[in-house]
Symmetry: C2
Subunit: 279 residues, 2 copies
């Protein structure tokens, strides 16, 4: 079975559309401020995707563009304006920032209540604690949304997470743990990764290594969540060798069209939650 | 082999004594403020242990005792006084607090720079990120100190952590991961915990379940770190059936006399670090 993102996106949009309507009736239009320094093609492409997704449910994206040579002071001033603006419910800051800017310092200027992609320490702590406060990072949340939308129960399941980053691997492990999975965190220094993966019920690949999870890592009955986004010979591919595993395992997410496509919907949902909390 | 805490405590004390001497020569005596509400016997006993350990290297513990019916305002005022007092380098707040007090709110009043046992969100985030900033919780740090002092390399090792609490299991998993271990987080909902433990190189038991890790969980060559502290029939015991496993495994920590005895030394080290940063 191919686990596609679009059915999940559509399910989420049905709920989100109603929530936005209710907010709009109260005079509140859920709005994300995107702060972008420069004109990087990746950022522009992501921004266009955001605008389309937000627009489809009646929410808004406000794009704030700063010059590449913007000062740290000016960037912080811009963030503070967004923090104080009651019509903005979420702030997304494209990274990496120019090297002249202290990224850690700037990130901490974003109000935790508007930090919808979990950049700042307060939301990172809530993600670790899994205390249902704050905002969790969007990509691992998208994995959880896909598992939930496909009725994949996690209690007692052995889940292998490949990759220990702060944007995917580690937060995803905490979310899976909260759902009572037994979680094994693997990485570049793991020995016998193949053996560990073969024993798993679910594999979440977030290693940033093109097609590394191939047929030799998997067995029948498994669910494979591919969080990788790599470009090889000009084409997108994940961390999973999709064609190699698809006829062996129970279910696998494609790249593109899998987890990545749900990430924007999670961000939208966070902005809606921010708007709901603001009234 | 029995992995006792005392040799580690002594090794740490040698280094700490020199550090305290250097600080004292500069007019700074590393000082921990213990804020205690009421006269709970557990707290008093722990406080006496702290005083003895701190005293042995020339550091100080200042005990601040508040009545059981203390108001939230008064407690926060006391914390703020400690935050502002330049002669205090660490603050330990005994918990649980009386139910009339909002514990979460009070904890966040402790300055992160003096939060030497990682209670507040900022230090929790640093522990999750493992970015070498802030203070990590003392008990899992004691496990790491014991592994390190016994030259137990973690790279590529399969480590099973039993228990997913915010004071031991989850932070310990992050610390082990930082040292390149492959970490499996297990808990009450884990299936075939015995089988998972048997395959591990190292088992860290922090489940709060007396003697649950018995001979059937282990095999030869393993290292067993027992973080449990339970009272059964008036006697202390860990989460590991020490007598049952000691002749099978390579090394195991006793309870008492194991990990627990190192915790206070970690706290002392944190206070010294706080004092060093204050000048």
């Amino acid at each position: 079975m191919e686990l596609r993102g679009m059915p999940v996106v559509k399910k989420m949009a049905e709920i989100d559309r109603v929530a936005v309507e209710e907010l709009t009736a109260k005079g509140v239009i859920p709005t994300l401020a995107v702060i972008r320094v420069g004109e990087r093609e990746d950022d522009l492409s992501y921004e266009r995707g955001l605008m389309k997704r937000f627009d489809s449910v009646g929410a808004k994206v406000r794009s704030i563009v700063l010059d590449l040579d913007v000062s740290e002071e000016k960037l912080i001033e811009t963030i503070n304006e967004c923090n104080e603006d009651k019509d903005i419910h979420g702030i997304l800051l494209f990274r990496p920032l120019p090297k002249t800017i202290d990224e850690k310092k700037v990130i901490e200027c974003v109000s935790p209540a508007k930090d919808v992609d979990c950049m700042c320490l307060e939301n990172i702590a809530h993600t670790f604690a899994q205390d249902n406060e704050g905002f969790e990072p969007c990509t691992p949340s998208a994995v959880m949304e896909m598992l939930s939308a496909n009725d994949i129960d996690l209690t007692g399941k052995n889940v292998v997470v490949i990759g220990r980053s702060m944007v995917v691997g580690k937060p995803l492990a905490m979310m899976l743990l909260k759902k009572n999975a037994t979680v094994t965190l693997c990485h570049t220094r793991t020995k016998d990764l193949k053996g560990i993966c073969q024993k798993a019920d679910i594999i979440c690949a977030a290693a940033g290594s093109p097609k590394m999870v191939d047929a030799s890592f998997v067995r029948e009955g498994q669910v494979i969540m591919d969080v990788g986004i790599n470009v090889v010979d000009g084409a997108l591919c994940g961390d999973v060798d999709y064609d190699g595993v698809k006829d062996i395992v129970e279910a696998v997410t494609p790249v593109p069209g899998g987890v990545g496509s749900v990430t924007t919907s999670v961000l939208l949902r966070h902005v809606i939650r921010g708007a709901q909390k603001s009234i």
